[in-house]
Symmetry: C2
Subunit: 353 residues, 2 copies
DNA sequence: TTGAAAGCGCTAACAG
DNA sequence: CTGTTAGCGCTTTCAA
């Protein structure tokens, strides 16, 4: 098939047409490049007739303005880096999805950085905002790419985790102390007094806070805190399973477990089943997150829901406000959590195995 | 605190320093802009001494080259659009993770497009490669953004699903017919003869192929295909649960179910438990994918594993090869699948409820 | 409402 | 090994 385009007395192949720029369109349409630019970006500033001419010319040769030139001129890429430790984790994926939605609604795109918790990769993604490949960054992990420019508030950054106290950075999060307390109180109210804890990595701020909440609830109930009841692991199913094996070995008559994440709970549930423990008849299990699969577990998980969607949406909008120089009033926003009572927790009964 | 920088007899504030470009660095280092560029991009082409001078100057003022200028000049953004219907789906998230990894390894970044199966969003993401915001696109869904330029092979595109036959587009996938056949044969070998099917959306090519495989296996076993045994739903847990409710209502003594996705199976499992069906003692359940949670289900799922990691890695590398003009030899690559026998399937036993 | 013209920051010939 | 120079494609004053 023959394909060509006649422009200004010369014949262009399809491949050449693909390379046309705004000046070529101006030529074809018989207007200036500025007018073509306006026709695309601020159509209302161009007369109907001129606009039609431009659009027709563009359509004929299949022209779409390159965003590269615009980005360079404006010094903005309209990309935003979103950092997660693992996109595969059902706690993070809805957050990222909400961020992508919110970004799109405001004309931005998401550069996904799955860092696997690797500081090198975090740093290299952070560099993208220094090098203008992105206009800002959202961190969904506990570590900050330690670059002064972010702290100096020269580069837009938002974090969805508490990190170490850092008043210079905008943060959206939840009240992990309250969450830890709430979950513990639920178990306490059911009559459980010896509650094993399966925490994520010890150094994580969120884990420390949740444990603090646990201790607070215990103290209010006049129950001594027993460090031997807390097991540190990772936020994953496999490691949760391992922790459960340790627990049942250490404390065969354990009546309640509080894990710091649904993913961990799924591993625990798996082991408990294998060992023929009845949940919740013999062991109660509560956790945090309310990932989408929590309600489909056997039994459905009682858990403290985190507002993943709001978290994603709000933090993205906060970042974009920052980028667009509409700084939000508050540096730290705490979102509401909620206890979801399902079937993995039940009344304490003295043990009869 | 006072912060300033003395350059060429003028005092610069920290904010001004952030705006320095390659020419300023050249000035400070006493070399040309070209040399600065080389020092960063091809250090081996610059003498040790000059390189040190440049790097020192850059470090002193915290300079990082802007990728915007480079992109414009080179006509490449080093971004790649990855389209998924839903990043929250545990089938897609490992694929995306693998893609991100592979992209990074070759100096590219991933622009995540969570399309929610919405054609408008697919189209708007596809436009990003026309507008050079991205250098190529990978489609993980069954629909193609119908833009001629992709078909004409002017724009780099790779698909991980079979779509409608399209020889012009590079595709990486699995042999869904063989997968459907394999799963069915497993059930058949266990003595099951009435096998209910829970498929995803009927129009999906992958579903049609899997069903075809099911029919093939049945035919080879001389069992007549009964259309009443196939239930169409979505690839989700909630809809899988609904399908299961219909099945047990329609066929209370069903002995085997073949669902087209682990996510569906989790919903089915949930309902089966609620209805007090024993899996696999009374009903066997097999599916496809082997998502990470499949082994932690109660009981652990027998399933045909899909090579999500390889799928992601290979398709990303194929796309980048395309972008870098090293066209791969084959247009269609089929990856190996594997039956993973766990505990959700068992020998057929006549029904005693 | 439209046009002319000056860059945005970088790269890549080409020349030395 | 290093410097000069001409753009890449677009936006944006400023002037008409």
């Amino acid at each position: 098939m023959l394909w060509f385009m006649l422009i200004n007395h010369s014949i262009l192949s399809r491949a050449q047409v693909a390379k046309l720029n705004i000046n070529d369109i101006a030529l074809i349409a018989g207007v200036s490049n500025a007018t073509v630019s306006r026709a695309f970006r601020e159509p209302q500033k161009v007369s109907q007739k001129t606009r039609d001419k431009v659009m027709l010319a563009a359509k004929n040769v299949g022209f779409t303005p390159s965003s590269l030139g615009a980005s360079l001129k404006q010094g903005r890429s309209y990309n935003i880096v979103v950092l997660v430790p693992d996109i595969t984790n059902p706690y993070f994926s809805p957050i990222v999805r909400a961020m992508e939605q919110a970004a799109n609604a405001r004309g931005y795109s998401v550069l996904l950085g799955d860092t696997q918790d690797c500081p090198d990769r975090e740093r290299s993604y952070a560099k993208m905002v220094k090098s203008k490949q992105a206009d800002g960054i959202i961190i969904n992990s506990q570590r900050l790419p330690l670059d002064l420019d972010f702290e100096q508030e020269l580069l837009p950054i938002v974090s969805t985790s508490e990190l170490v106290e850092n008043d210079r950075i905008y943060r959206i999060g939840v009240d992990n102390i309250a969450i830890g307390k709430l979950a513990t109180e639920h178990l306490l109210a059911l009559g459980h007094t010896r509650i094993a804890v399966v925490s994520g990595n010890e150094p994580l701020r969120s884990c420390q806070d949740r444990l603090l909440g646990y201790k607070l609830a215990l103290a209010e109930a006049n129950i001594a805190f027993d460090p031997a009841l807390v097991y540190y692991t990772q936020y994953s199913t496999a490691t949760g399973a391992k922790a459960a094996e340790k627990i049942v070995a250490d404390i065969p008559n354990i009546s309640a477990i509080f894990s710091f994440g649904d993913l961990i709970s799924i591993g625990i549930l798996h082991v408990l089943h294998k060992m023929n423990y009845q949940v919740p008849q013999q062991v109660s299990l509560i956790s945090i997150d309310d990932i989408s699969l929590a309600m489909y577990c056997t039994p459905p998980l009682t858990t403290v829901a985190q507002p993943m969607n709001t978290l994603g949406e709000l933090s993205m909008n906060t970042l974009i406000d920052l980028i667009e120089k509409k700084p939000p009033e508050r540096k730290l926003t705490l979102l509401a959590h909620k206890l979801i009572c399902r079937e993995s927790t039940g009344q304490y009964k003295p043990y009869t195995r």
